[in-house]
């Protein structure tokens, strides 16, 4: 398998919607899922997971400050400091990637999250020419999940 099939892309879409529904009782609405061009969607806070094993590439979740802050409040976390906002996007990326192993199994080896503050620097696709981008809306706020992965075998 050299690339993701549509059914496999749905695994990630389901993981995203499940995350918000399960934790906040409010589902994330999927606004679009598409093959991105060179400029990948990115907001204030990004949590990124790199992959190894039978896949290579990365998966990231990126959201504006207001969404991440609201998420922390819903989780009854009173401290919305910068470190916790970064921690939250890392945890979302970790959960989405980890949940995808229900389908991919341990062929999908995932790293600990890397977190990135600020959206001034573009994230370039490193694996696929055109990664999958999923745009979502939770509450009134937009966020994105990008899946830039390919099978190595």
């Amino acid at each position: 398998m050299a690339t993701l099939r549509e059914t496999e892309l749905k695994i990630f879409i389901d993981a995203v919607t499940h995350y918000f529904l399960h934790l906040t009782s409010e589902p994330a609405e999927i606004r679009a899922a598409y093959l991105a061009e060179t400029d990948l969607p990115r907001f204030d806070y990004t949590g990124l997971i790199t992959l190894s094993g039978q896949f290579r590439g990365c998966i990231y979740f990126s959201a504006p400050r207001i969404l991440v802050r609201e998420l922390l409040i819903r989780l009854q976390e009173p401290d919305t400091c910068e470190a916790n906002l970064l921690d939250a996007v890392g945890e979302v990326a970790n959960t989405i990637s980890g949940n995808a192993r229900q389908h991919f199994g341990d062929r999908l080896e995932i790293s600990v999250p890397i977190t990135i503050l600020g959206n001034t620097q573009q994230i370039k696709s490193s694996t696929r020419t055109r990664p999958f981008a999923i745009l979502l809306r939770w509450q009134r706020y937009e966020a994105a999940v990008v899946i830039d992965i390919e099978a190595t075998a």
Partner: protein
């Protein structure tokens, strides 16, 4: 019973600590918070917990390696794995190393409280 919380995410450690304060879990008292396996091993040696919540994907030392060390030192330790890794192979590996339970992230407050009750009985 003494509880040790192990997770590389500060907000998850904080959330588990908050849930553990629920009256239904009054038999548990938190004796430590660790952000990786190495810290967990040190805190276990120092504080001798009865129950441990254990993340799996962590820097320095991951959860599976940590479970192996903790169970070798204290076979009666009650370890609840709390992880986003949702595949059966991982769950079985953790249970084979000696974990008593497995809870997938994302989890609700009630699911964690029930899982903690189960492993601490």
């Amino acid at each position: 019973m003494k509880l040790l919380i192990v997770d590389d995410s500060n907000i998850i450690r904080s959330r588990i600590a908050r849930i553990a304060l629920h009256p239904s879990l009054r038999q548990l008292s938190i004796v430590g918070l660790a952000k990786n396996g190495i810290e967990a091993v040190e805190l276990c040696q120092r504080n001798m917990p009865d129950v441990v919540t254990m993340d799996l994907t962590m820097p320095e030392m991951d959860g599976i390696a940590c479970i192996e060390i903790l169970i070798a030192r204290n076979p009666g330790l009650n370890i609840l794995v709390v992880s986003a890794l949702s595949d059966k192979v991982t769950a079985i590996a953790a249970l084979k190393k000696g974990a008593r339970g497995f809870l997938h992230k994302p989890f609700s407050d009630e699911q964690l409280a029930n899982a903690l009750l189960e492993v601490s009985q």
